[in-house]
């Protein structure tokens, strides 16, 4: 029988460090079902019977954030055998507040007071004996980082897991305790377990909706409970949940020694903060730090390694190496192409970004671990709140200007579910480094570079940022995001020297989850795209027309390769070549009546075959969709857009390979050199669904199929709308052309501004109701 132990504590209380120290590498990391909250489980290093669950860091167990719901449901539904409550010794009051809530569950518990080294250094005295007596459970001093006392905690947890629930003292005022007893009497009907009663009565007293609906009480009992609550509220002059919170804190204050030194004098943390969050210096310092991070990870070191990976390692060594190896084994050409160019090339294109991401993750983990991240959120909150996001959304956006994948992953630090969702949905709008070639192509080829080109390039950034801001404002108005308005209350943890173990582990974890994805989703997608490019279902035949007089091929088509040989034979005027000495026939006379090459059914496109590839057919189909945006006039630009799903660099790469004059000719061939078409193409490609790697990241972070599709749909929809408006308005104003799609563009334009400017709490149903009312009145 295995023992389940839950690890519970405040955020930043060192929970993860303790968890890592106890479990070592025996961990399974995933998400809790239904929410994007990380679920971590692991077996204790020296006792594989014990499964430790690292519950998300919470301040309280009120069910208002997904983290709290996860933690609470786990304790109620899974009945762990014991709880390890980790408490930040430098911040006893707030941490013990959670402890008082945990005590209500009636699960055996041990308290681990962390950061004892810091506590001693600051001269804070903690009376362990008193705490232990008051709370009725063993209190152990630990330092998770140094590994002091962690084994004692785990052993104690294992020991008590077999025993009885932790003893609970009545911590509330007599009025509240009386009310709780009354409630217990009302709900005590035998079917509720004895040790759940206290917790339930507290929750009912707080009018916890979830518990109330769960319990299925009859109306009479409900009104009796309500009367009990009302009476206590009258007596204590506050609402019931306020009473509970206040009294918990009052109790905690009474058991912690009043004198808490440490904050009176300026700590190192304060000194750093005086400079870093200074009124004038904060923003320049922040800009400098972010520039350095960006420069190291994307601009210099990271870029060198990524270039090496993409161009040399995969481009020159692995792909050609494997190609020649497979060819050497005599494997068919198409299979070699599929494996080397399709699968390995495609995955390689994505894996090439891994070193860049690892460096970025490393630097960000450093900033996160030392405590600077929360300062950034503190500094930037004002700006981001303007358009419905929080200061914490800034980090993902900033990282996304390098690569969207780590950007989307960085959204994890945002606690509010709604803010996090909107951040994930909009981060992809920021032009990442892979979109730069598209910007470059439009700016230099279509706009001819120079000042005009520079304006286009700068404009690309503004389009991205604008899309984020407008989306933030618009999305917040939709019901799905209205949810619980959660205040921006954020703890600013003390600065501390980052722990290498934590930093490397979190870097490795993030990197690994990306690599795993490259091995699955991206592999499959790359193979499919390769097949799309190289397979055709169109039937064509290639005739060889040979000039009867000269014997030269006028049209060769498929026979091109064969014809090379044929030509050689024809050089001998159509006679067999005979070795003069031996008299043997070296080369047969050519057979002139070649049959046309037939390409039927599903077939590979070999050299000279003029069948349309599946991708080309899709491109042609889609170009109808892109026609109103201008760039649908050529199927090639549609194909390029689709290939952007593999990697955004592919867009320009594909245009270059499809144009007869290479990339320099693409502008004339596919866009007729039209600025308007170029701009429309640029906008669509900047804003539409991101590459597969980023889509994978979105799926990971959303942890929901529905929301992943919603994100992709929203991004592509917005891209389409903005491109359509731009192209149609451009045509209207420059050439006075007016048509069906101009009307659509005007409607979209008005709708966009309506959503942007209308008051909050938007609901389509209400909108229709309003419209209907007005009409009926008229």
């Amino acid at each position: 029988m295995s023992i389940k132990i839950a690890l519970v504590g405040n955020p930043n209380s060192g929970k993860t460090t303790l968890f890592n120290a106890l479990t070592g590498s025996n961990q399974y990391v995933g998400n809790w079902p239904g929410v994007t909250v990380e679920k971590k489980e692991g077996k204790i290093k020296w006792n594989k019977e014990v499964i430790l669950t690292d519950l998300p860091g919470v301040y309280s167990l009120s069910p208002y954030t997904p983290e709290e719901i996860v933690a609470r449901n786990y304790l109620v539904d899974e009945h762990p055998s014991a709880i390890i409550n980790i408490v930040d010794g430098t911040n006893l009051e707030r941490n013990l507040y959670l402890t008082t809530q945990l005590l209500d569950f009636g699960i055996p518990m041990v308290i681990a007071i962390n950061f004892m080294d810091v506590v001693r250094k600051r001269g804070i005295k903690i009376n362990l004996g008193k705490l232990s007596r008051e709370l009725g459970c063993k209190v152990v001093e630990i330092s998770a980082l140094k590994g002091d006392g962690i084994e004692d905690v785990a052993k104690e947890a294992i020991r008590i897991s077999k025993g009885e629930a932790t003893f609970r003292r009545n911590i509330f005022s007599s009025q509240v305790e009386k009310a709780l007893e009354d409630i217990q009497d009302l709900i005590k009907k035998g079917y509720i377990e004895e040790n759940e009663l206290r917790w339930l009565s507290v929750k009912l007293f707080e009018r916890d909706e979830e518990i109330l609906s769960h319990l299925d009480l009859n109306e009479k009992t409900k009104s009796q409970i309500e009367a009990v609550i009302k009476r206590a509220e009258m007596e204590l002059d506050d609402d019931s949940d306020g009473i509970i919170i206040s009294e918990r804190y009052d109790y905690v204050t009474s058991i912690v020694d009043k004198k808490m030194p440490g904050k009176e004098k300026m700590s190192v943390s304060d000194k750093i903060d005086r400079i870093v969050t200074n009124r004038w210096l904060a923003i320049p310092i922040f800009a400098l730090i972010m520039f350095s991070v960006y420069f190291i990870a994307i601009g210099s070191v990271g870029a060198w390694i990524t270039d090496f990976m993409n161009d040399t390692l995969f481009g020159e060594w692995i792909v050609p190496g494997i190609t020649s190896l497979l060819e050497g084994w005599g494997i068919q050409d198409w299979l070699v192409g599929l494996i080397a160019d399709g699968a390995i090339g495609g995955v390689g294109a994505v894996l090439g970004f891994v070193p860049q991401m690892l460096i970025l993750f490393l630097l960000l983990s450093l900033l996160e671990d030392c405590g600077y991240m929360s300062r950034i959120a503190f500094i930037m909150d004002r700006v981001f709140r303007r358009f419905g996001l929080s200061g914490k959304s800034f980090i993902p956006m900033l990282i996304a200007s390098g690569c969207g994948v780590p950007g989307i992953m960085a959204s994890r630090t945002i606690e509010q579910q709604n803010d996090r969702k909107i951040t994930i949905m909009t981060t992809g709008f920021i032009p990442c480094s892979a979109k730069m070639p598209i910007v470059g192509f439009v700016a230099s080829q279509i706009f001819g570079g120079g000042v005009r080109g520079a304006l286009v390039a700068t404009g690309a950034y503004f389009i991205g940022i604008g899309a984020v801001i407008c989306s933030g404002i618009i999305l917040k108005k939709f019901k799905a995001f209205a949810g619980n308005p959660s205040p921006f209350v954020m703890e600013l943890p003390e600065y501390h020297v980052p722990a290498p173990k934590n930093v490397f582990k979190s870097t490795f974890d993030r990197g690994w989850s990306f690599i795993k994805r490259a091995g699955t989703v991206i592999l499959l997608a790359s193979v499919l795209i390769w097949i799309g490019q190289n397979v055709s279902i169109e039937s064509t035949s290639t005739e060889i027309v040979i000039d009867a007089e000269t014997g030269e091929a006028v049209e060769s088509g498929h026979a091109h390769a064969i014809f090379g040989e044929l030509q050689e034979k024809l050089d001998n005027d159509g006679k067999p070549v005979i070795d003069e000495e031996t008299g043997e026939v070296v080369m047969e006379a050519p057979i002139i009546d070649y049959k046309p090459a037939e390409h039927k059914g599903i077939h590979f496109i070999e050299e000279g075959c003029t069948s349309k590839s599946v991708l080309e057919m899709i491109g042609e189909g889609l170009s109808i969709v892109f026609k109103p945006l201008g760039f649908g006039d050529s199927w090639e630009s549609s194909v390029a857009t689709i290939l952007g799903l593999v990697a955004k660099e592919e867009v320009v790469g594909a245009l270059g390979s499809m144009a007869e004059g290479g990339i320099n000719g693409a502008s004339e061939e596919f866009f007729e050199g039209s600025w308007l078409k170029g701009i429309s193409f640029l906008i669509f490609n900047l804003l539409c669904a991101p590459c597969f790697a980023a889509i994978g990241a979105i799926k990971n972070e959303m942890n929901s199929r529905k929301w992943t599709w919603a994100t992709l749909g929203y991004m592509t929809g917005l891209a389409y709308a903005i491109s359509l408006i731009t192209y149609q308005f451009g045509r209207l104003f420059s050439r006075g052309e007016f048509g069906f799609f101009t009307v659509i563009a005007i409607i979209l334009f008005v709708a966009f501004f309506y959503l942007l400017l209308k008051p909050a709490k938007f609901s389509l149903v209400n909108l229709f109701k309003k419209l209907f009312k007005k009409e009926s009145k008229a």
Binding site: Y64, N91, L92, R94, D238, S246, S486, P487, V489, E491
Partner: protein, 75 residues
């Protein structure tokens, strides 16, 4: 007065937390309860949010949410 009106450097005592629902609950969960002393440490460079010291730790709260906390000035 409310916490929103407090100046940097003020120490105030909480009289009551107004409002209801999740926001009130969250503010109180973090230790802003009746009778507790709050020191206003600083304001973010752009004027919002506040940085407070409550129960021995640093907390950042938006001015808009600080409106919900009735306080009296001590020093």
């Amino acid at each position: 007065m409310t916490l929103k009106d407090a100046r940097v450097g003020d120490t105030v005592k909480v009289v009551r937390v107004e409002g209801e629902g999740p926001i009130k609950r969250r503010i109180m969960d973090l230790g802003i309860t009746k009778g507790v002393e709050i020191y206003v440490r600083k304001v973010a460079p752009l004027g919002d949010p506040f940085e407070l010291t409550v129960r021995g730790y640093e907390l950042s709260v938006r001015k808009e949410d600080a409106k919900m906390v009735s306080v009296e000035k001590i020093s």
